[in-house]
Symmetry: C2
Subunit: 366 residues, 2 copies
């Protein structure tokens, strides 16, 4: 089923993280992939990674005729001009892009006179803090949403072809109107990115004592502040109004919270508590990691000697007990020969696993 309508010949223009990752999946599925990038080093690295062969230059279609799909994996502001050029050459029968914003490329493509029937604006919701072809992975899209924003002018066949491409990559196609998409990603991706940067920016002036008191909370809040500013300024600029709307609301909430805290009255504290309660409510609306409704795993905690082979014995015990491990985190103890392992399992399996591990001599608190 996943391979029904899967593209057999694909052009990928732009061999960064997303373009190269798509190419790697398609190659693994046996498709022919032709690669192009203005950055010669990026192109050669992608070819070297086995993502495909170089698209010959020139004005016409590739040897063998137009590909099934051309994926334009270029920054948002470059999508329309790249599309125009690709359509002039006749690179493929269907075109799609992967930019994180959708209204701007569609508007610019219309202004440039691109063919609207063969273009399906797209956005795989996948990424990493790292960028470039070296960070590409063929599992990048597994289980992730892949937004498609066809317009009334888009040919249904073109939509079907890009849906098949998304499914081939292991993603779930989600058809959504471009403006709605842009407001949504402003809310769940672009604005949080700027907020994370603003919190992290406060740390530049902190002394080492303050930073030494940093716990997991601020690490989580600022993780995405480590991303590439060049990449992100392009995204933010292309989705400026929806992002600004969200940032203004957050800025207002924070300024009001600051003023209420300075007020110091019990009533003022109550209003700050309201913001925290709204935070609880908003957080609980995010679907679970696996795309479905939030799944509550149970956690089994084990204190383990920090040495080779210990994890193997624990996971072996889990396997013998027939318990599937859903997730694992390890917390090491600096300067101690002990680590703490948290094993997430289905709730009904937690007691089985804990009993098995205790029976084998591990320390399982609780």
């Amino acid at each position: 089923m996943a391979d029904e309508g899967a593209p057999r010949r694909v052009v990928v223009v732009g061999t960064g993280l997303i373009g190269t990752s798509i190419a790697l999946v398609l190659r693994a599925r046996g498709a022919e992939v032709l690669l192009a990038d203005r950055d010669r080093a990026a192109l050669e690295l992608a070819v070297g990674l086995g993502a495909g062969t170089e698209l010959p230059g020139g004005d016409g279609p590739p040897p063998g005729g137009p590909a099934d799909v051309a994926v334009l994996a270029v920054p948002p502001a470059a999508v329309a001009v790249t599309l125009l050029d690709a359509q002039k050459r006749g690179l493929a029968r269907v075109y799609t892009d992967v930019a994180s914003v959708k209204a701007l490329p569609l508007r610019q493509a219309a202004e440039l006179g691109c063919d609207p029937a063969s273009f399906v604006a797209g956005h795989p919701l996948a990424g990493r803090e790292r960028s470039g072809p070296a960070a590409a992975r063929d599992d990048l899209f597994l289980g992730r949403p892949w937004a498609l924003c066809p317009t009334p002018q888009t040919a249904p066949d073109a939509v079907a072809a890009v849906e098949a491409l998304a499914r081939t990559c292991g993603a779930e196609p989600v058809v959504v109107e471009a403006d709605e998409h842009d407001r949504a990603v402003a809310l769940v991706s672009h604005a949080p990115h700027v907020v994370s940067a603003a919190v992290a920016a406060r740390l530049t002036g902190a002394d080492d004592t303050a930073l030494g008191l940093a716990g997991q909370g601020v690490r989580d809040v600022t993780r995405i502040a480590a991303s590439d500013p060049r990449l992100w300024i392009g995204i933010l600029s292309a989705n400026a109004a929806p992002v600004a709307d969200v940032l203004e609301s957050v800025a207002t909430d924070l300024a009001v919270a600051a003023s209420l805290l300075r007020d110091g009255s019990e009533g003022a504290a109550g209003h700050v508590a309201d913001l925290l309660l709204r935070g609880n409510a908003g957080r609980s609306r995010i679907p679970g990691k696996h795309g479905g409704p939030g799944q509550a795993f149970a956690t089994v905690t084990v204190v383990i000697p920090d040495r080779p082979g210990e994890l193997a014995m624990i996971f072996q015990a889990a396997g013998i007990a027939g318990v599937n491990i859903e997730d694992v985190t390890i917390e090491h103890s600096p300067g101690r020969p002990l680590g703490v392992l948290e094993i997430a399992v289905q709730p009904e399996a937690a007691e089985t696993l804990a009993a098995e591990l205790r029976a084998r001599g591990w320390s399982v608190p609780g």
Copy 2:
């Protein structure tokens, strides 16, 4: 060494997450622990968990005389009055608290006329999204900083006793002035908490399509927004001015970024990029997970069937290869029988592990 000067008899007033966790460690080290809590159910649960025995009521010291240390694990606003009562009873020779703010309890203790010599204000930098005695764990403090804020009136012996308590819990004592502590935690904990809540609060009005596009970034930014508002409003109120300072700076940065994005000029975009660059710089200043300088592990990625026993075989292979695993993350693929395992190891061990796993038939990209 870790047990040098370790307390033998301890009173814990307040059997929530932190108090019960301290009690559990001390019991495990063979200390006698006497527990008190106004909440009868919390007290009984802590006793049931083996955290100690109930402190008899009354006006005098516990049977057997004053304990070595009394830990006042109560909310920030309750520390001073609890300290006064405890000192009147003569519960212990040395007193400490665990509240997330330090200037307010010290000021209130002075106002109430508490004995300043025997009180060492303290704050273990440890916590969980869950609260209450049921969430307590004896590994909660392993490797975490434990701030101590003695004043010029504090007796050196008292400081030494609380340092020994912190070390017994596996934590690293950090002596810091109370105002500096409060500004530091406003920056690295309290303000990020409010910011996380403000981002999450925006999601309450979002539609399901928008939430379906949520990725790991917004999940990380809003994780701590799931914490208990009652607990946090007490912390924020007790550290109001330092938190308000940080929130105002962040709010200003966000309002300016919004205005620059609406401006749309290249110069304006450059200023937004500056904020992202400052975010990069601030993020990179957070010390590594283990408290030391950021440690760069190498990651080995393996695609694995999602079934019991598979992890055991992988970790067994790592053990045979003599490779110690520093961290593990598992990414499942919804609706697919595959998971992706990322194994963090010392950089020099990455190639050894990858080769071992490939030789045993696993798919190790890169």
